[in-house]
Symmetry: C2
């Protein structure tokens, strides 16, 4: 590539007839500079089209003004609102955003060197393995977790939603308002924390209503349409037909709906279905999907704000649980 000639602070200094230190001061506005000098420097900057080099600034200034986002894989409907929240909040606070997907690097064992090219990172879910998390924690590198609580020896702020409480409220509703007593649950991926809390909420509500949870009706949904479809298809083949299925997320709910349809079962007349997340499709389905609206963008915003507090030496809240909203639509048997 052809290298373009760069305009450096030195060029500006020469043009304006001052020292580079003065130019630096004018640009950053750190110290008072005489008005006439400022004018000269500004003129030189405009004339040369000078843009400070952030890289050099970072090296000298010991900070990068960049926030890192670590995700496993860029996939799913939640991704766009998440990124939107993170990008907006970062840029409002004057930070750039660097994105790292750990999907490929998992096996190679090489992780992004967050500690040097960002001032702090936001870690989504379990995208960063525990030992790397610990390494950074020990170095006191600023970070905030999203949708995943840290292990007990890692004292790092975490922002997520009220998973358990939401699931509980959903099941309360299904039992109390819709009268279902036999409810199946479709788990998310192995070890996924969101899913674990949702399952806990489900179980607690069932218990609180004196209902037994049939372990045969706890299946794997994997937060995926395919997997959920498979599980429910198996159930139907084996003659298991719960009156209601609570899928741990909307994607798996889609699989449930498809499986039921293929089996000739009507929703909600034969089987009621509810999900979690309120992805965009949910309201367009017929029957429209009853679900829990997760405020993903809001979680992202709070995560960034928390990180920035950390960066500015304040002491942020260690655990933030954002409230959700029950979205009652047709798939659970409700009709207006």
């Amino acid at each position: 590539m052809l290298r373009m000639k760069r305009v450096t602070i030195e060029d500006v200094a020469r043009q304006a007839g001052v020292s580079i230190a003065t130019v630096s001061r004018v640009v950053s506005g750190s110290t008072h500079v005489a008005p006439m000098t400022t004018a000269k420097v500004q003129a030189a900057i405009n004339m040369l089209g000078y843009k400070p080099n952030p890289i050099a600034k970072h090296l000298a200034g010991q900070r990068t003004n960049t926030i890192g986002l670590i995700v496993d894989e860029i996939v799913g409907d939640f991704f766009q609102p998440m990124l939107r929240g993170i990008e907006q909040t970062s840029s409002e606070h004057g930070y750039d955003l660097l994105i790292h997907s750990t999907r490929m690097r998992r096996r190679s064992g090489s992780y992004p060197v967050a500690e040097h090219n960002t001032d702090g990172i936001i870690v989504f879910g379990n995208s960063l393995p525990l030992d790397e998390l610990r390494r950074l924690y020990i170095k006191q590198f600023p970070m905030v977790l999203m949708h995943q609580t840290p292990p007990s020896d890692v004292h790092v702020p975490c922002v997520t939603i009220e998973n358990k409480r939401s699931a509980q409220r959903m099941v309360d509703y299904l039992i109390e308002q819709r009268g279902y007593t036999e409810i199946a649950f479709l788990r998310g991926p192995e070890g996924n924390e969101d899913s674990q809390w949702r399952e806990l909420g489900f179980r607690e509500s069932m218990a609180a209503h004196g209902l037994k949870v049939d372990d045969e009706l706890i299946g794997m949904g994997g937060f995926e349409e395919m997997q959920a479809h498979h599980t429910v298809t198996q159930w139907v083949r084996q003659g298991k037909r719960p009156r209601c299925i609570f899928a741990a997320d909307d994607d798996s709910a889609l699989g449930v709906l498809r499986a039921l349809k293929e089996a000739g079962l009507r929703v909600p007349q034969d089987v009621a279905v509810v999900g979690f997340d309120d992805i965009r499709i949910a309201s367009y389905l017929s029957p429209a999907l009853t679900t829990v609206r997760a405020p993903i963008e809001q979680v992202s915003r709070v995560a960034v704000e928390t990180l920035i507090q950390l960066l500015e030496g304040e002491t942020p809240q260690m655990l933030t649980l954002l409230p959700t909203e029950l979205i009652i639509r047709e798939s659970c048997g409700y009709s207006a």
Copy 2:
């Protein structure tokens, strides 16, 4: 924030009893270093947990190993596959990804200093104003445009899809296979290039079949559900009822479907509807939406690859048009 003590190349050099130049060489693998020395250095690196500082490397090495992505706003269903393609391809080639949304900065007039913290940028749509584009072009800063062709004086590679041809094929199908002669068109936002090409394809196909385009039936859809809904609702009120509506994108098609439903019109019996993009919802609707599948992730991959060619001094193709696929579903009157 507490500053953590940093391990630098110098610490490693001291620990290993060699010079920093030697350490640099074993880390980068640029020159041959004696096996025994290499071992000593590696041992020191492991013992101290040294991670090279990319910032310093960039400053010294004159490259950042980072690709910038400029978008207007992080919104819409296309965003996730786009980012996915870009992130994956970047990381496969060893580049980091820096994201800039120009949404907020538009008015402030301050744009990301792409030229210094990235090696090159990918510009989506018209997210970067023309004068900024020109400024970077004049500096010979490497960039690639996505879904937007450059002005004639800016000679920069561009990657997009076969908009015109696809629209043409869609309309050919509607006329030839489905027998519609009266087709309305719903435009995207003012000045959107994708939309312009699609409209052109629509008009050419109509003309080629000897059909007249009724200007009353060219409406504004704005690539938005709301706007399209509004336009079609107005049409219906005014007694305009085209036999078929071609929405310039799927989001506006959603608005069309809703408006028709509210007006008591059946799709496809009364009015046929087709869209463009094949967003996820399309196949879940009832009736499922006939549309054109735009290979967004693929476009993104090619854009990154093109940029990397540029970075490596090769001469890439200046215009890449990726083919699409007609997805025929129920909303156009087709039944299996």
